[in-house]
Amino acid sequence: MSEKIKVPTMQELAASGNSAEILFWVGCAGSFDDRAKKITKAVVQILNKCEVSYAVLGTEETCSGDPAKRAGNEFLFQMQAFQNIQLLNGYDVKKIVTACPHCFNTLKNEYPELGGTYEVIHHSQLIQDLINSGKLAVQGGGQFKGKRITFHDPCYLGRANNVYEAPREILSRLDAELVEMKRCRTKGLCCGAGGAQMFKEAEAGNKEVNIERTEDALETRPDVIATGCPFCNTMMTDGVKNFNKEGEIQTLDIAELIAQAADL
């Protein structure tokens, strides 16, 4: 992956009188966090490969307000939301895809009452559509064929929005062995990052949540821990490192798994 990727922005498209069908909402983690940027690139590779009509907001994007809202700062959340909604409505955005379940939840559920109603999907749902419609093929699963993969349900995708199947359906296309953790789907254990915990030290306890969750994952003896959230990815990556297993276990986002399997 040495070549630069072509990423259209809404601004450029609008300036040339064009528009995009889907806005790819990158989110703060996907924009700034070094690990999450790789997930963003994988999503873009998939979008480019499938010739999806999409664009990003680029430097016009700003925090969805999710962490402020979960931390109780409703003022800040609504300030962010109003700004974003003005921008999104200005570009007449109809459909949004995002690789961050927190942005996904906020945009989908909390923006409508503030004047921003869009069809919001998680990238797992978009990839599922692309595979089902034949635009994206992952024949044989590439390097993941026969590997043991376990999927960690992000709380804001699963319990918060009842999306459990899309990521699993994608993973099932990899010809890999999908193994479930003892706590999965509605019973999935949080990675410890939600509710603005990502941005603070945990309260005093006897264990970190991500260690507890990584133990669940390790019990399945996986080759890959698949995630669908940049924050879960960080937490699980750290958890795997804590057990000195980073040499044998990869922690990858579903978009990365698909992009690598499809040899993009």
């Binding site: 992956m1 040495s2 630069k4 990727i5 990423v7 922005t9 990158v26 703060c28 996907g30 924009s31 700034f32 966090d33 940027k37 690139k41 873009v44 990003v56 680029g58 430097t59 994007e61 700003t62 925090c63 962490p67 402020a68 979960r70 931390a71 109780g72 700062n73 409703e74 003022f75 800040l76 609504q78 300030m79 109003f82 939840n105 989908k108 559920n109 909390e110 709380c155 319990r159 918060a160 929005n161 009842n162 509605t186 019973k187 254990l189 949080c190 410890g192 990052a193 915990q197 990502m198 941005f199 603070k200 030290e201 945990a202 309260e203 005093a204 306890g205 006897n206 264990k207 507890e212």
Partner: protein, 441 residues
């Protein structure tokens, strides 16, 4: 009308009257909360009530306690048939008023109640063992000492008494019926254990035992009924309305605060006059607090949740913070809310409705440490068999801390500042947002 009927009617008035009085008190307490709209979607609400409350759907996420609970639940539901007859007999002085008319159906109904009662008896013993002998963590936590522990056990003892009285009544009656030469009633259990326990006793003794069973049962019913309002066991009634009024929207959707929305809209309105006097119609209303400091800032649904909670602890045992040794326990949030609500209600009754005891839910009952330990993962909400939502209380407490007291862990204050200044929770320049697309790595 004999002394028996008069006593029964007096007892009924007393029992039902006291219960009604306490229900009114609880209803008033629930109305201490602010309004929240849970109207509409009747179809979906009925369906949820049918599945979750009547159908116990969410209980079965943990099959063993669910099965045991189902036995007691089914016995409770069907025993109401026998209770109707007890009322009919009690008021009119008849004996088994429905037997003649219902015939075989009667025998079947009583037999069903008896079989369920035996199952409930076994389940009750199992529950007692779970609470007292097996070291199940969620029953031995710090919030489950003292009254909550005693409450849990008392309920089970009451149930054992209720069941024993039923079998005294039916068992002795079976033997009397046989001694009268009318043959057996044919009740599934008491026709078998009646003769074993009471066979060969004199008619007087049998009558006495039957009467002790009958009166004992109905007295226990009234005792239990009036125990409910001071006990976690009130869930047997409130579970149904609580599930009916549950949140039907996606669990990830938090409420958008209307009071904040007005302010933010004003800030975004270029034609708004910042020095304008408030609209005259709004002037009477006292400014409401942002978020919740005390139970009066919570919604009536939060308060209904608190009275509905039966302290099973599934929420706490599924909470990631609690599992990793943090102070937070969603069950304790609900218990604290209920206890504080009882206290506020008591104070208001005693000292007038404007009384302020200087205490509050946040601080005196729930600590900031608990509030900040939550990951908002919704495991507690998902887990609750009666759709209680501890998370919405936690978030409202956070809202109060942040927006009224500017009290948040310092890292979160930094996060807020970053979002305000550069539109991201970390300190990155907004102009670098698209760098990922051009960076080589």
């Amino acid at each position: 009308m004999g002394i028996g009927e008069l006593s029964f009617i007096a007892l009924s008035f007393l029992g039902l009257g006291l219960f009604t009085f306490n229900c009114v008190r609880i209803r008033k307490n629930i109305h201490l909360g602010v309004d929240v709209d849970r109207s509409g979607s009747l179809g979906a609400r009925l369906k949820t009530t049918l599945l979750v409350a009547f159908g116990q759907k969410k209980m079965f996420k943990r099959p063993i306690p669910a099965l045991l609970h189902l036995c007691i639940y089914a016995a409770f539901l069907f025993t109401q048939i026998e209770l109707i007859e007890i009322f009919a007999d009690g008021i009119t002085g008849s004996h088994r008023a429905f037997q003649a008319d219902l015939g075989v159906l009667y025998t079947f109904s009583i037999s069903l109640i008896e079989v369920l009662s035996v199952l409930a008896f076994v389940a009750t013993l199992a529950f007692l063992a779970r609470r007292n002998l097996l070291k199940i963590p969620r029953f031995t936590m710090s919030e489950m000492t003292g009254w909550p522990k005693l409450d849990g056990n008392l309920i089970l003892y009451f149930e054992i008494l209720l069941i024993c009285f039923i079998f005294m009544m039916n068992g002795a009656d079976e033997v009397l019926h046989i001694q009268d030469g009318k043959g057996t009633y044919g009740f599934a259990i008491s026709s078998r254990i009646g003769p074993v326990l009471f066979g060969g006793m004199s008619v007087e003794t049998l009558h006495l035992i039957e009467q002790i069973g009958w009166w004992g049962h109905i007295c226990m019913v009234f005792v239990f009924l009036n125990y409910l309002p001071i006990s976690k066991h009130f869930h047997i009634i409130l579970a149904f309305p609580n599930v009916f009024y549950s949140n039907l929207q996606e669990k990830g959707k938090f409420t958008n605060m209307e009071s904040v929305k007005k302010e933010v809209e004003l800030m975004f309105d270029p034609s708004a006059d910042p020095y304008a006097a408030p609209a005259p119609d709004a002037s009477d209303a006292a400014p409401t607090r942002f978020g919740a400091k005390d139970i009066t800032d919570l919604s009536w649904k939060n308060l209904l949740d608190a009275y509905t909670c039966t302290e099973c602890g599934r929420c706490t045992s599924s909470c990631p913070a609690n599992q990793t040794g943090k102070k937070l326990s969603p069950r304790k949030i609900m218990m604290d809310t209920r206890d504080r609500m009882e206290e506020v209600g008591r104070n208001k009754r005693k000292n007038g409705k404007d009384h302020d005891d200087g205490k509050s839910l946040l601080g005196d009952y729930i600590s900031e440490e608990e509030v900040w330990a939550c990951t908002s993962c919704n495991a507690c909400v998902e887990e609750c068999p009666v759709n209680i939502d501890p998370l919405s209380i936690i978030i409202d407490l956070r809202r109060y801390l942040v927006m009224e007291e500017s009290k948040a862990p310092s890292e979160l204050t930094t996060m807020f500042t970053n979002i305000e200044n550069n539109g991201a929770p970390w300190q990155f320049s907004p102009m670098d947002r698209l760098n990922w697309a051009t960076e080589e790595h």
